[in-house]
């Protein structure tokens, strides 16, 4: 488990500053969620963290060492692993081989896979509960199984920090909860881009909210996800309640302006367990424009 520290990060893409002044800290072993609307710079921050992009300003430190100036690409890859969406050559490969690719930063000059590499692959597959898939073809797996295997590849890298860019893409609801539960149980520091705010609230220790490439809020999910913030950042009217099953923050939202008689300031935020949601926030379907 390693500490990840992003300080005053600025990144240029095609000559334009797309994120600026991003500063946050991921405590060892914690799960930090990166949330924000499309185009807010979440993936860009992640890419600068796992060294796919060079920052134009600021720094990224892992356990006190600068990812871009003090460490080389291989050294970074032994500390920070990323699970990103990927393509293939259109030909199948076995799950074992797909996970073995995660050992790339550990291979020697001749690229020989040793006993330690194979042990790391087996161990990673066991950790994500995919040991039984080892000899299957990757492309024949279900969406949930594929995500587990990709997670196993990242773990085979033996990282202290794990970066996940929309890890729950294409997963059904149980698969989403399952994957994040698994991620939470891993002995690594996690930085995850999440689109589903309820999922983020339920599984993150710390949330970082981005908008237009700037950091607009950070803190515990219950403190950050307020109706005011959701209106300003996502442009929705929101109600904060409590999930009766888990006791965590539960958000309900509708398009801003859909009900002009109830400006956002009047909608109460009720994060305390046991309180019932305001009836106003549970608008009948008939008032929806699609009804």
């Amino acid at each position: 488990m390693m500490r990840l520290a992003v300080h005053d990060l600025g990144v240029d893409l095609a000559g334009r500053r797309v994120v600026e002044g991003i500063t946050f800290d991921c405590a060892p072993g914690s799960v930090t969620g990166l949330v924000g609307p499309n185009g807010s710079g979440k993936s860009t921050v992640c890419r600068a963290v796992y060294r796919a992009l060079r920052p134009a300003a600021g720094s990224v430190h892992v356990d006190g060492r600068d990812v871009h100036t003090e460490l080389g690409p291989r050294q970074v890859a032994r500390r920070i692993a990323a699970m990103v969406q990927e393509g293939t050559l259109g030909v199948d490969s076995r799950v074992l081989d797909a996970v073995l690719v995660g050992r790339t930063p550990h291979f020697g000059a001749l690229g020989r896979a040793g006993a330690r590499d194979h042990a790391a692959v087996t161990d990673a597959l066991q950790r994500v509960g995919a040991a039984h898939l080892a000899h299957r073809e990757f492309t024949a797996l279900s969406g949930g199984e594929k995500q587990r295997v990709l997670l196993a590849r990242a773990l085979a890298q033996h990282p202290g920090v794990l970066v996940l860019d929309e890890p729950t893409n294409h997963l059904d609801i149980a698969g989403q909860l399952d994957l994040l539960d698994l991620v939470r149980s891993l002995p690594v520091t996690v930085l995850a881009v999440l689109h589903d705010l309820n999922l983020a609230a339920a599984s993150c220790d710390h949330l970082v909210v981005l908008a237009h490439g700037h950091l607009v809020a950070q803190g515990a999910p219950g403190d950050v996800l307020t109706p005011g913030l959701l209106h300003d950042v996502f442009g929705v009217r929101a109600h904060c309640g409590t999930n009766p099953l888990t006791g965590r923050v539960q958000l309900s939202y509708a398009l801003a302006g859909a009900d002009p008689t109830h400006p956002r300031s009047e909608i109460p935020c009720a994060p305390s367990p046991g309180s019932s949601p305001s009836p106003r926030s549970c608008r009948p379907p008939s008032s929806s424009p699609w009804a």
Binding site: R47, V76, A77, R78, A82, V91, D92, D97, V101, A109
Partner: protein
């Protein structure tokens, strides 16, 4: 698969060396080769020795080297541009090499300044330089924001390929008779003019480049998954891609300079091996080299024995014999998954 190929290589080579207008038995072939390697006294007619050692062995070895080089170049390029349709010719390297070779073939004897320069360079030298020059152009045109973009690279290669093909076609149209046939033969690939002196350079280049690529097989595995994945695994995808492209182009230019535009083997040998042993490049690259080599040895064998005394160009044989074989593999591979 590996053992099958390791057995198949010497068998195919001995068979191919023995077959021809003057048939030589496999035992004599082995005897003659042993004589030249160890200095023992051969117990065979001098004419057979001359045919086998001076003509057939370099020819068969050149066919093997060419097939191996093109198969490895094809496998590498398919990974580098992340496109299963890529082959050694997709970057325009062969079109550039062909255009340069055809310039020499059509003007070399004619005189003039261009003819003089070209004549000094020879067909092989011109083809090699033309290929490398094209690679340089493609790399320049394929850059975007200081890094090499696979899609741009492909488009630049295809566009330049068409341009050089136009040059080649124009030069062909201006020719007639025997010269035109020589040009056509070169464009479709032939190892008929193989000599020991023209064999060592492509053989050495193919051996060195293939070895270099096999050592980097793991990075190819990662590169296939995309630049993001490669970066997260600690690879400099852009720089790695340039290195691999240069090596693949070097391989291609080295073999087509001596064997002409041999088609199909660079596309199909890697896929055939992938269907049989999977996508890992540590196994794929050496096996593709062996498979491509054997395939071209057999194609050359068919080309010079099918309709004597006429010889068929290599591409005619590789396509006619290779396509059905590949389609069968594809069907079986498709059923497996």
């Amino acid at each position: 698969m590996a053992t099958t190929l390791l057995v198949l290589v010497p068998v195919a080579v001995v068979l191919a060396v023995g077959a021809g207008a003057v048939a030589v038995s496999p035992a004599h072939v082995v005897e003659i080769v042993r004589h030249h390697l160890t200095g023992s006294v051969p117990d065979v007619p001098a004419a057979e020795d001359q045919i086998v050692w001076a003509v057939r062995v370099p020819r068969v070895l050149l066919a093997f080297v060419t097939g191996a080089g093109l198969a490895v170049a094809g496998a590498t390029l398919q990974a580098v541009v992340r496109n299963p349709l890529a082959d050694p010719y997709v970057l325009g390297v062969s079109a550039g090499a062909s255009a340069a070779a055809v310039v020499v073939l059509t003007t070399g004897v004619g005189g003039g300044i261009a003819g003089g320069v070209a004549g000094g360079l020879g067909v092989s030298g011109a083809a090699f330089c033309g290929g490398l020059l094209t690679l340089g152009l493609v790399l320049l045109l394929g850059r975007q924001h200081g890094r090499v973009d696979p899609t741009r690279l492909l488009l630049a290669g295809v566009a330049l390929g068409y341009l050089f093909q136009a040059v080649t076609s124009y030069l062909q149209l201006r020719q007639g008779g025997a010269k035109l046939q020589a040009v056509l033969f070169w464009l479709l690939g032939t190892v008929a003019s193989a000599q020991w002196s023209s064999l060592w350079l492509p053989a050495a280049l193919v051996a060195v480049c293939t070895g270099w690529l096999i050592v980097r097989a793991r990075t190819l595995d990662a590169l296939v998954l995309g630049d993001e994945v490669a970066a997260s695994l600690g690879l400099r995808a852009g720089w790695l891609r340039v290195q691999l492209l240069v090596v693949a182009a070097l391989l291609t230019a080295a073999v087509i300079a001596v064997a002409g535009g041999v088609g199909f083997v660079g596309l199909v040998a890697p896929h055939a091996v992938r269907l049989l042993v999977g996508t890992g490049h540590r196994l794929l690259l050496p096996l593709a080299a062996l498979a491509g080599g054997v395939f071209l040895v057999l194609a050359d064998l068919v080309g010079r024995t099918a309709a004597p005394p006429v010889e068929l160009p290599l591409t005619v044989v590789t396509a006619v014999a290779g396509v059905p074989f590949f389609l069968v593999l594809l069907r079986r591979g498709g059923a497996r998954t």
